[in-house]
Amino acid sequence: MKKLINLPDRVVEEALAGMVAAHGDLLRLEEPNVLVRRDAPRQGRVGVISGGGSGHEPMHGGFVGRGMLDAACAGAVFTSPVPDQMLAATKAVDGGAGVLHIIKNYTGDIMNFELAAELAQAEGTEVASVVIADDVAVQDSLYTAGRRGVGGTVLAEKIVGAAAEEGADLQAVKALCQRVQDNARSMGMALTSCTVPAAGTPTFELSDDEMEIGIGIHGEPGRRRVKLASADEIADMLVAPILEEGVFARGDSVLAFVNGMGGTPLIELYVVYRKVDEILRARGIEIARNLVGSYITSLEMAGTSVTLLKLDDEMTRYWDAPVHTPALRWGV
């Protein structure tokens, strides 16, 4: 294992300290391992929080700031945060208008957020939750934990954060978040594995001529392992199952998000984006907005994911609204 770390057990705390040192104008750190928007709580505004295991940077801490998240809870690498963290975050951002929890659909995240919401409500804070489950690689059935929350989470946090910033109430913010979830679909792939610092060995093995299609953001295996293919073929393999969902039709406007898994250079992401654009054009689907870059990663894993979100006017307006966070910034 070659990593820029000191001690494996200190990675998360030291990275959070670095974020606050770099972005003290936007965020502050509260115990235990919660990044909070510097001016929180904002009276009369809905607080929006999220959180999850670390190792997906910039998600979620990099999205704390104006027009996006009010707080983010950082768990150990690839491990859900504990309820104490979500409770602390909820209290830190509660300006009297309630708090929305944006939860990625993983067994641990759901249980820990549930416990935190029960505790927060017992202390008098109104909490609403939306579960993001946009990964088409996983069959949504009684026989799995359900679809994973992946790229759609980033888009939900941006759009919902803008609505909360403008003063939308808790029910409106929750309904908007649910609409983003219902209209977003993602699919990812990996060229290489990743190594959890505390584990010290790669989570899975991929030989030089193989790739994993339908990978999760924790190195969980996906639909199938196949021989390495070209970027165009990979883009096809990712977009096809998304389009099969029946959510996107000719004439729709979409936000296309081509994401890097952490170890893939931007030049390759644009090669993929070029093909995604070509596929959607041929289908008569307009890319009205896009995002290209590494925003929801899996440590140093090489690979990419594609997320499509069917836009409506309100979502588009909130996407365009000013945002000022460590990782996303425009309009300010």
């Binding site: 150990a76 491990t79 504990v82 067994t107 009684l142 934990a145 959890v196 989570t203």
Partner: protein, 210 residues
Amino acid sequence: MPITTPDLADAFRLFGERLAEERDALTRLDQAIGDGDHGINMDRGFQAVLGSLPTFLDDGPGALCKQVGMRLISTVGGASGPLYGTFFLRMGTAMGTAEKLEPVELVAALRAGLEGVIQRGKAVPDDKTMVDAMRPAIEALEVSVGGDWQEALASAACAARQGRDRVTPLVARKGRASYLGERSTGHQDPGATSTTILFESLHDALATIS
């Protein structure tokens, strides 16, 4: 031969020590069908429990179990934190304020813990989870608790091991292992494995009480 708070604390200490020994093995099992952190998370949680254990001994076995549960919920994370945390919390609630426990009372508390785990995690038999080791172990205790205590604990540890191994060929239907579908067959479940270690620890620590 009632079970005292220090007796139970000894069992938890032994479980924590065994988890530390098995940390890398549990993590390897989880790398194969999960996200590769089960040993790391359980070890982190039980190190925190062991550090606080001397301060948990003042108010009876029920209070001990509740404090262990709260500590796990606050330190483990993932799915294991709420599940093991709920297990010990419910055990503590079932024990009430008794100063000592008869074996049959401990078994009833373990049953309450199991029900809590099922309620929190919504696992059914053969989902290939910790429940598949925990349920047979507790059922074995329930049928044998009236007889020799040492044999009852041995039968529970044995039932846990059998339960763990019985679901290895099955397809996982809960947690991150469920994403693998058919590819999860043949892999030993990490949660069922740590639960087996719990029942082995209960045997090793409590069988000698008489």
